[in-house]
């Protein structure tokens, strides 16, 4: 769930190779019956059983459980026994005074993060590609990947510790330039920036891996002929490197845009404090607070469903646009 989503955002690696299966190799069993085809690999179906059971129980039953959003859920009656509520909870959410605030916060943080966080790894990869393989290059890579492995809890602690007035490294730095004794975490206007830039700090190095790989696959002859033509380094970057990164980048962009409403719960929830709630409350944290802490299951599920649907629409339409414009797409 949210864990997976945040993974997808950070692990740039989802380039589903479209089912070779559909145009699969000529099946030698043209004459055989379906029964025989199944019998041929009966053991594999046995092997499949457990994982498929997992998908059904923990992925598909929750999908069906979404009807709770249209019901007045009562614990005693269970999901299926509770009375229908129609769209009541959706209306309640749309009309709640904070509806637009949460949407605004969610989209604000997401887009801010995308604008900064999407090009950052590309930039790092391009720069690393320009220097010779050596100790320096290796150290930059090694050090910049490392923060990826820090847990969210530790990451937020590092942020808080570094921003503690008088003590933290970053706040000491700001004191030197005249901004003293500021509780950065308590200033609503700074929340987005702290969130986004700490993400950049943590994930840029790891995110660059996929682009570095793409760059290492560029045909060396291209560089040779560019050299013969007297191209400068910048020209090589603009005309060889960047075009060769476009397919990967488009896929990454689709994935990022498709997750825009799924803004990760974990980090934001940990970074919240009573002082910054006006900019830090997003849909996912609100769903958690209303639903699990406040026990309004149906209302909270309605918000969650609204979120999932918007997200699905975004993903499908971004993918469609990308396919039309650049012929790179997820499917």
């Amino acid at each position: 769930m949210p864990r997976l989503i945040s993974k997808l955002q950070t692990e740039p690696s989802l380039t589903p190779r479209n089912p070779v299966s559909s145009k699969a190799p000529p099946d030698r069993s043209t004459g055989r019956t379906t029964g025989k085809k199944i019998k041929r690999h009966w053991q594999l179906y046995l092997v499949l059983l457990l994982p498929v059971l997992y998908l059904i129980i923990f992925k598909y039953i929750p999908m069906a459980g979404i009807v709770i959003a249209f019901k007045n859920y009562k614990v005693i009656k269970g999901i299926w026994g509770s009375d229908w509520a129609g769209l009541k909870y959706f209306h309640q959410f749309f009309e709640s005074p904070n509806f637009w605030l949460y949407i605004k916060n969610t989209l604000g943080i997401s887009f801010y993060g995308l604008i900064i966080g999407f090009p950052a790894p590309i930039l790092l990869a391009l720069a690393l590609n320009e220097i010779r393989n050596g100790l320096f290059k290796k150290s930059v890579q090694m050090v910049s990947y490392a923060p990826y492995f820090i847990s969210t809890v530790i990451m937020v602690s590092i942020i808080i510790v570094n921003l503690t007035p008088n003590v933290g490294m970053v706040s000491k730095f700001f004191e030197m330039i005249g901004v003293s004794n500021t509780n950065f975490m308590g200033i609503p206007g700074l929340f987005k920036s702290i969130y986004v830039w700490s993400d950049v700090w943590q994930f840029t190095g790891y995110g660059a891996i996929i682009y570095i790989a793409a760059l290492s696959g560029v045909n060396p002859e291209l560089y040779e002929s560019a050299k013969v033509d007297g191209a400068s380094r910048i020209q090589k970057i603009l005309n060889i490197d960047i075009p060769s990164l476009i397919p990967v980048s488009v896929i990454m962009l689709i994935l990022n845009l498709g997750n825009i409403m799924k803004l990760g719960f974990e980090k934001i929830y940990l970074m919240q404090n009573p002082l910054n709630l006006s900019t830090s409350e997003v849909i996912s944290t609100y769903v958690y607070k209303v639903g699990l802490l406040g026990s309004s299951f149906s209302f909270s599920a309605a918000i969650g469903l609204f979120n999932s649907v918007i997200n699905l629409i975004l993903l499908v339409s971004v993918n469609y646009i990308a396919r039309k414009l650049s012929s790179n797409s997820l499917w």
Partner: protein, 299 residues
């Protein structure tokens, strides 16, 4: 790359390379300094930390912070719990992932497309938090160790990566030859597929293990009993919930004395908690990089 070694570089190019080095050095410093600062603070005296004397190097070396960490019984319990969830959870993860990924990589498996679609749909749409929670609740898994293992027993992303790996590394001819020789599918998995797939198994193990060690969300929603808490939840209680209180006090310098050791404890705790992952990191870095690439390019 070996560009520009044969022909002498122009002035513009040399300037450009200089800026590249400058930029990368800046990246290096910006990433490394906060980490070094935490490490140095964790072995400095509380007074030095609170009064802001620590920059890059430890001041008045002491191990009091670490002593406080190891004397805290909660942290010990959390460490052991996390170890358990990581080991058992990762084993289940890897097993299930292979059990789905290998059949999906088999071109002659009837209905393969159906299972693939079934898998991919779960990436695009999910029921959301509440139905997920209710399923776990209805299965009576709340407040049990199973709640930390079963709901996240398999990652869709990893299945796709592993499937791609199987498709590209295990030749169809091998499977066909084995089939002709009367080797069953299950035996083929054990005696051919698994030995050939050590790299991807290593990568998956690492990805899952780091995920388990670092996770706190499932524990936050499924667990209430403190003796089941993984380390991350305990860290959150000590590091973050405390910090909000502290930062809300008007003037930090007034409460310096008691604050001192508490602060120091935080730095040491950060180091102790990240240690397992960061210690093995240099050794496994290559595998991670490989994992990302298998997932993307070879695909």
């Amino acid at each position: 790359m070996s560009k520009g070694t044969a022909i002498r570089e122009s002035k513009g190019d040399r300037l450009f390379v200089f800026f590249i080095y400058l930029f990368l050095s800046l990246v290096l410093v910006i990433v490394a300094v906060p980490l070094i600062y935490i490490l140095s603070s964790s072995v400095s005296s509380p007074q030095a930390v609170v009064s802001g004397k620590v920059w890059l190097f430890p001041v008045d070396f002491t191990l009091d912070g670490y002593k406080a960490v190891f004397h805290n019984p909660q942290i010990g319990v959390g460490y052991l719990n996390s170890l358990f969830y990581t080991v058992v959870g990762t084993a289940v993860n890897v097993a299930l992932t292979i059990m789905l990924a290998y059949p999906l990589s088999k071109k002659t498996l009837y209905g393969r497309h159906f299972f693939m679609v079934m898998l991919v749909i779960t990436m695009m749409f999910d029921g959301g938090l509440i139905p997920y929670y209710l399923v776990v609740k209805d299965l009576h898994l709340l407040d049990t160790r199973w709640a930390m293992i079963l709901p996240g027993a398999m990652g869709v992303f990893q299945v796709i990566v592993a499937r791609t790996f199987f498709q590209t590394t295990i030749p169809d001819e091998l499977a066909e030859a084995a089939e002709l020789d009367g080797c069953s599918d299950i035996r083929f998995i054990f005696s051919i597929v698994l030995p050939l797939s050590k790299p991807i198994i290593a990568v998956m193990t690492l990805m899952y293990a780091v995920g388990h060690w670092n996770a706190y969300f499932d524990a936050l929603i499924f667990l209430r009993k403190p003796d089941l808490f993984p380390l991350q939840i305990i860290l959150r209680n000590i590091l973050i919930l405390n910090t909000v209180d502290a930062s809300m006090m008007a003037n930090v310098s007034q409460v310096q004395a008691q604050q001192g050791l508490k602060d120091l404890l935080k730095y040491s705790l950060i180091v102790v908690a990240s240690a397992p992952v960061l210690i093995i990191y240099p050794f496994v870095q290559k595998h991670f990089v490989k994992g990302v690439m298998i997932g993307s390019l070879k695909g």
